[in-house]
């Protein structure tokens, strides 16, 4: 088990290194650089700036410098924002994104498992039809539409009651988080519902559930001990990529609800070719996701004994 964990972590480090290298190369192959946008700058000023930031050095040398700095945990200084360390940007804004993301994932996973199990049990009956209709909506409607609709609904609800039940935008308390997390998790929840439904349907008709019935177990016990745990396996498998989708997809929701998350900086940096911020946020997101996937795999081993042994 420990050996497996160690192996996975080592693979993770290699993955992160690969992400860093790929981002570095992709970033530098885009025409222009962070200082080419400066209007007033003459050739001489630009050359001086390039020399100051090391942008005039050959690509290989720049790469070595970047990687060296990463290893020291230094992501450098932002090109476009006044006097800000990339480390500070991440430190200030990532916890916001992470809180929102984790809440959204929890919501998506719990909702997906619950609705999925429900639709499977009520297969081809009214609850199934209604939920599956909503699921199709959830999968096909993009998150910014849900975000706008969610906000609109909040405004109307608050107006109706005359008091602010849940804040429409902003960040700070738990009440700020609920609706954005719901909106962010919606698509994933819909997807997990479908997955859970099909896996549950398969298990309802499996031989061991028949055995459990032949043992005369009550329905709740069969559901909890024999169906749920086995049906949940495929859901856990896609939870890793789902976390990736949610945390990187948070940008739109953060924008609509005016949440000071990392997503905004990530997207802005790419638009402005802010080399250090791009590298910093990408590598950070990358390592976070790799770590999450490893965590999910370990969780999988905990749920399914067949995976545990190797």
């Amino acid at each position: 088990m420990w050996q497996y964990t160690l192996k996975r972590l080592l693979q993770g480090v290699i993955t992160v290194w690969f992400i860093a290298t790929a981002t570095f190369l992709a970033m530098h192959s885009v025409p222009g650089d962070p200082i080419s946008g400066e209007r007033a700058a003459t050739e001489a000023i630009r050359a001086n700036l390039a020399a100051r930031y090391g942008l005039d050095k050959p690509l290989g040398e720049q790469y070595v410098i970047y990687i060296g700095n990463f290893l020291k945990g230094d992501f450098g200084i932002s090109f476009t924002q006044q006097n800000r360390q990339v480390n500070d940007i991440i430190r200030e804004h990532f916890p916001v994104s992470a809180t929102l993301g984790i809440l959204a994932v929890l919501f998506a996973a719990l909702g997906g498992v619950l609705w999925g199990a429900l639709t499977a049990i009520y297969r081809n009956r009214l609850p199934d039809t209604i939920i599956m209709f909503l699921v199709i909506l959830g999968i096909s409607v993009p998150s910014f539409v849900f975000a706008a609709l969610g906000q609109l609904a909040l405004v109307n609800i608050n107006n109706f009651f005359g008091v602010s039940i849940l804040p429409v935008a902003g960040w700070g308390t738990v009440s700020h988080m609920i609706v954005p997390a719901l909106v962010l998790g919606m698509g994933t929840m819909a997807y997990l519902t479908r997955l859970m439904r099909s896996s549950m349907l398969e298990i309802i008709h499996s031989d061991y559930v028949r055995t459990a019935k032949a043992k005369g177990l009550p329905a709740e016990r069969i559901f909890l001990k024999h169906q749920l745990r086995n049906a949940i396996l495929p859901v856990v498998t896609v939870l890793g990529p789902a976390i990736a989708a949610i945390t990187t997809g948070g940008f739109v929701v953060e924008l609509v609800f005016a949440i000071p998350g990392l997503g905004r900086y990530f997207v802005q940096a790419v638009q402005q070719l802010d080399y250090t911020v791009i590298m910093g946020t990408t590598v950070f997101y990358g390592s976070f996701l790799v770590f999450m996937v490893i965590l999910v795999d370990l969780l999988y081993g905990w749920i399914d004994p067949r995976v545990r042994v190797q």
Binding site: S206, Y208, T211, A214, K225, R229, I303, P305
Partner: protein, 340 residues
């Protein structure tokens, strides 16, 4: 003879499918006495499993439907009921084991927990007491190193071991009837023999009745006291194992016997299959279901479904050849032919 422990009468089961209604079981009667073994024999799709699953309430409804009939345990109706006389029918009164032990156990639960589960649910045992009993049961079904094995998961067991664990689970609450639905079909021959011996020994120890569903006549000869031969949802011949094997009274039983591979070095017969295939149970024939494949078919066979003819005490056959007006000499046919 003692009173029947379990008596099934006129059981009819149907399934709604996209192609129409399948009449899978069409009037099945049988009795099982305590300490005895009834084998239900027949080819795939003849309704053997459906019969016992209907009795146990294991048929998904819908699409399944029990149209009529009764199943009485010690004289008390069990169809559609979960408990009789305060005891749970499934798992406590009647235990059941299935064909494929590999897929019939929960892959994410330890063997010990799965065996202990009925004890916790039906007997109200504490977890530790149920676990201790589960270890005893594992030893009873001859699984070595029970303490270690109980903590393992189904994927760590071989097929034969899993079937032993299934048996341990099924007998954990000391059922009065054990139903074994093709218990050895998925296992290789040496393991088959071990499992059958185990079932026999457990039956001798506990005095439970055993209903053995199989299509293997070898297993029947080895295990059964009584035999019911099923064809197209009906029991076509029923009697003691000697009656059915040595005094077969239905052409289908004869056909099955001829189709059995023979290992006798002195004989070089070719295997004689039964020509044709079983009838479509979407619209079962009006007459005898076997008429289309029967070499002795008469006009009446196509027109009217045969009644039960008692050929001897406790031995009946559903075949018009036994009718007093039958042009064939039934006795001659069944004394010659496959009965030697």
């Amino acid at each position: 003879m003692s009173a029947p422990l379990l008596e099934v009468q006129n059981l009819h089961v149907e399934f709604d499918t996209y192609g129409g209604t399948v009449r899978a079981v069409r009037g099945v009667d049988f009795k099982v006495e305590a300490g005895r073994t009834l084998a239900i024999v027949g080819e795939s799709g003849c309704g053997k499993s459906v019969t016992v699953q209907a009795m146990m309430g294991l048929i998904p409804m819908p699409p399944g439907r029990i149209m009529q009939g009764s199943a009485k345990l010690r004289g008390v109706e069990i169809l559609g009921r979960k408990t009789i006389e305060g005891r749970e029918v499934r798992g406590a009164e009647i235990g059941m084991i299935f064909q494929d032990p590999m897929s019939s156990l929960n892959p994410t639960m330890t063997i010990g927990d799965q065996i202990a589960e009925p004890l916790i649910v039906h007997r109200g045992y504490s977890r530790s007491k149920a676990w201790a009993r589960a270890l005893e049961l594992l030893k009873l079904v001859r699984i070595p190193e029970a303490e270690k094995r109980a903590k393992q998961y189904p994927f760590e067991f071989s097929g034969g071991m899993l079937q032993r664990a299934m048996i341990a689970m099924a007998i954990s609450c000391k059922p009065t009837v054990l139903i074994a639905d093709e218990p050895t079909t998925a296992l290789d021959v040496t393991i088959q023999a071990q499992i059958l011996d185990l079932l026999k020994d457990l039956q001798n120890e506990t005095g439970m009745a055993l209903i053995l569903i199989t299509h293997d006549l070898g297993v029947v000869a080895r295990m059964a006291d009584d035999v019911a031969v099923m064809y197209a949802g009906q029991i076509v011949e029923s009697g003691s194992v000697d009656d059915v094997f040595y005094r077969s009274s239905h052409p289908y039983t004869l056909g099955l016997k001829l189709a059995m591979p023979n290992n006798d070095p002195g004989r070089h017969d070719t295997l004689q299959p039964i020509e044709g295939s079983p009838p479509d149970l979407f619209s079962p024939p009006v007459g005898c279901a076997y008429a289309a494949r029967c070499p002795h078919s008469m006009r009446v066979c196509e027109a009217r479904s045969p009644e039960q003819f008692d050929v001897a005490p406790r031995h009946y056959s559903r075949c018009w050849l036994h009718h007093a007006q039958s042009p064939h000499r039934a006795d001659g046919l069944f004394l010659g032919g496959g009965n030697e």
